[in-house]
Amino acid sequence: MRPVTLDEIESLAIGAWILGTGGGGSPYLALLNMRQLYRQGVTCHLMDASELDDDDMVAVVSNMGAPLVGQERLTDPRTMALAVTMMEEYLGKKFRAVMSLEIGGGNSIQPFMAAAILDLPVIDGDCMGRAFPEAQMTSFAIHDLRMYPLTLADVRDNAVVVARAASWKWMERISRKACVEVGSIASTCKAPRTGKEIKDCAILGSTTKAIGIGRAVQAARKAHRDPIEAVLKLEGGIKLFVGKIHDIARRTTEGFLRGTAAIEGLDEFRGHTFRLAFQNEFAVGWLDDVPRVMTPDLICVLDTVAGDAIGTETLRYGQRVTVIALPAPPILLTPKGIEHVGPRAFGYDLDFRSVFA
């Protein structure tokens, strides 16, 4: 276990936004909360999963809801802490640590917010290794772990416990309903995990990885080097395309932001086009109409100059972007993993082929 500096959390915000693969929501407001907490003298600690006893309990947390509502009802560490203490009361057991549901986007910082209030360490890991839109798209679901109970809290002291759910899909439907009722934003504590489950089934080390990516971007910017090259080098990524966004179509179906973006090539890609399809996160990319990259490989769209990630909600005409692929965690690449998070899970009739194969 080691203390985490505020500088590391600043780096985490940058790296996690890149690992968000277009979704996960901007980490900015969560980062502001951490700056406030550190100003008040808080220090969070990062814990390696190997330090957990097999029967320790770990709280898996995330903020749930519409990113747009989150821009008005600003995220608050006490609400996240409330969801965790409710779960402790429901279970009659104390948690040893908290962990992020998804390392991509703002949810990477939520466990630190809860941890600061509850004085618990944060596990270095998550259960997606990126961001995904649906509840069954986690390493815990791929391992067929139990999906209940779940606690959900809002800032007005409304709280819900989902005691049982027949499947991951049912858990998603019931908790989504409760979330919408309290204004489409809520803090949630997902099904509690034992130390053994974390060690066997979580995607470990992803917090450290996100901090490292953010740090590489910051260092490159400071030295006036290319931040994207720095990310590619650090993570063994592949540069897929460089260009300018020239068409975007977005629509909401079944509660998700779906759509496509077309990019016109520049530099060595001049004369080519790249098309991206997304469901909250980028799912598939085609180079000149031939599938080039697909989920669960991480498809990240970055500002060509600054290296900042660009979310599917903030894509717009004329942006200069670089599309890169980063390797997915191995669990997502297993046959069971591909069933949960491969192209067919997003409705694309494609056989998964990794760009890293």
């Binding site: 747009l68 919408v180 204004g183 300018k244 629509r251 909401t252 509660g255 717009r316």
Partner: protein
């Protein structure tokens, strides 16, 4: 006949023009002065001298960077009270939370957080704490604070809490200026609140400035009402605009783009404005600048409101050219000292203007002073400038294929007549005062940005359009001339029903 005066106060020059219907009949360029007003008086005097009919103008429009400069330079700012309505939500991120410490320390007076606000669908979040507001208003009065910013959760969708707060403030401290966030910004509480706070600390300066401008106008014998130009290329009556100075932040570049559209009679084109120090490239759509859709920082404060999307490059008439160790253009410039320091003006600094004179692009100063410049240096400098402009144009293009490019600004002679990716380069008369022309032709706008549920896309847009038209008319537009310039819709994930965030902007001519 429609007569209008347009004035643009830039960092280097104050420009003034008189338009009669669609013709520019007089144009004046004078140096900007420290106090701004003296420069305006001189420009107006010059204008009246050239065209006495300027006294009969029906409207005078001023665009100025005065308020932006006040924030950037941290001067003439008032101490303000911040009222946030939204508890129990957002308690951990109080007003001023992401401000630079020096600026916050300068302007932060009372900070009040109260219960209230709304949900995204218009339901109340919790009841508004009117008693708390009354107590806060009394503290504001006791502290001697003269300006208050109020921001409530989801106020762009339901402004009731902000309106209630304002009426309590008016009862308890009638002389206080109140800025309500829903009048300024879009969804995004912190950014909208920041815009309201910046506005609140500029209100007193804006009031004084607008009155000084009006006095300068009257002293020149001009009786026309004064309008201030806004970031989006429209105008608001000075007595209304003085309550919302943040809306004038980016009026300079916007005016030059609007002027370019008017002078070239093109509504869709790229515009390149080459000044003394920088070059701005923007994109015109339906005669208005395309707006930046992202967070805009002003004096290091994050805000989110109407600003043109611009690419700025360090290239202008005064940009320095260095030969050793290798050919370097800029980024520094001699700026307004060009006429002392440039070679052709008898100085000893090699500038882009000197190279242009040597190449015969323009005739300025004493050409013999650059006769000895090697032809290879002239050629490679011009080639480099061409490459910079081509790269900048390409970055701002939003469509494949060649587009027209309108060249304006005092340094527009630097734009080559033929460029890669450009169908034609348009040089227009009065291009050096395009910004003042843009001010003179400004119209009145109205905008709505709202979430609609369970409506078809067409119905949602129609409803937003009606609301935007009402806003434009309230701001002084003639309803018969109002037309839509921008429609944007974004479906929202995770919200129930069929939720669509719709933004519609309309503009119309000033009602006479």
């Amino acid at each position: 006949m429609r007569r209008r005066i347009g004035i643009d106060v830039g960092g280097t020059n104050t420009d003034a023009v008189l338009l009669e219907d669609d013709a520019v009949v007089a144009a004046v360029k004078t140096p900007t002065t420290e106090d701004v007003t003296t420069g305006i008086s001189r420009a107006l005097a010059g204008l009246v001298e050239r065209a006495p009919a300027a006294r009969e103008a029906q409207a005078a429009m001023i665009g100025t960077t005065h308020f932006t400069n006040a924030v950037v330079q941290r001067r003439d700012l008032d101490r303000v009270a911040a009222v946030r309505v939204g508890l129990p939500s957002g308690a951990s991120l109080p007003p001023f939370v992401d401000w630079p410490e020096d600026l916050a320390a300068l302007v932060r007076g009372e900070v009040v957080m109260l219960e209230g606000g709304h949900e995204f669908d218009g339901r109340p979040l919790v009841p508004f704490d009117a008693a708390g507001m009354r107590a806060a208003a009394r503290r504001v009065r006791a502290a001697g604070i003269r300006s208050v910013a109020v921001a409530a959760v989801f106020s762009p969708l339901n402004a009731a809490c902000e309106e209630q707060a304002a009426s309590i403030l008016h009862e308890e401290c009638p002389d206080v200026a109140v800025t309500l966030s829903h009048r300024l910004g879009r969804i995004g509480l912190l950014e909208r609140e920041n815009a309201a706070l910046l506005n609140a600390c500029l209100v007193e300066l804006a009031r004084k400035t607008a009155r000084a401008f009006t006095a300068a106008l009257r002293a020149s014998g001009i009786a026309a009402p004064l309008y201030l130009t806004q970031n989006d290329g429209t105008v608001t009556l000075a007595e209304v605009a003085e309550a919302y100075p943040v809306y004038s932040f980016a009026s300079g570049p916007t005016n030059s783009m609007r002027g370019a559209a008017f002078l070239s009679k093109r509504a869709d084109a790229l515009v390149i404005d080459v000044g003394g120090t920088t070059t701005d490239i923007g994109s015109l759509r339906h005669g208005f600048p395309r707006e930046a859709n992202s967070v805009v920082e002003i004096g290091d404060v994050r805000t989110l409101f109407r600003m043109p999307d611009l690419l700025s490059m360090g290239l202008g008439g005064g940009t320095r050219v260095a030969m050793a160790p290798s050919l370097t253009i800029g980024p520094t410039s001699v700026g307004f000292r060009l006429t002392e320091q440039g070679l052709v003006f008898g100085g000893d600094v090699l500038t882009v203007t000197d190279v242009a004179v040597a190449a015969g692009l323009i005739d300025l100063g004493d050409r013999s002073r650059v006769a000895a410049l090697p032809a290879s240096l002239v050629d490679s400098t011009l080639a480099r400038i061409r490459a910079m402009i081509e790269e900048g144009v390409d970055r701002m293009k939003t469509e494949a294929g060649d587009v027209p490019l309108i060249a304006v600004g005092g340094g527009s002679f630097l734009v080559p007549p033929r460029l890669a990716g450009v169908s034609e380069v348009l040089n227009v008369p009065h291009q050096a005062v395009a910004n003042a022309v843009g001010a003179a032709i400004a119209q009145v706008s109205g905008e709505v940005d709202q979430i609609f549920q369970d409506l078809s896309r067409d119905e949602a847009i129609a409803r937003a359009r009606r609301a935007a038209e009402d806003k434009a008319v309230a701001a002084g537009a003639d309803r018969a001339t109002v037309s839509v310039v921008e429609v944007e819709d974004l479906p929202l994930s995770y919200l129930p029903g069929n939720s669509l965030r719709t933004r519609v902007r309309v503009v119309g001519e000033i009602a006479r």
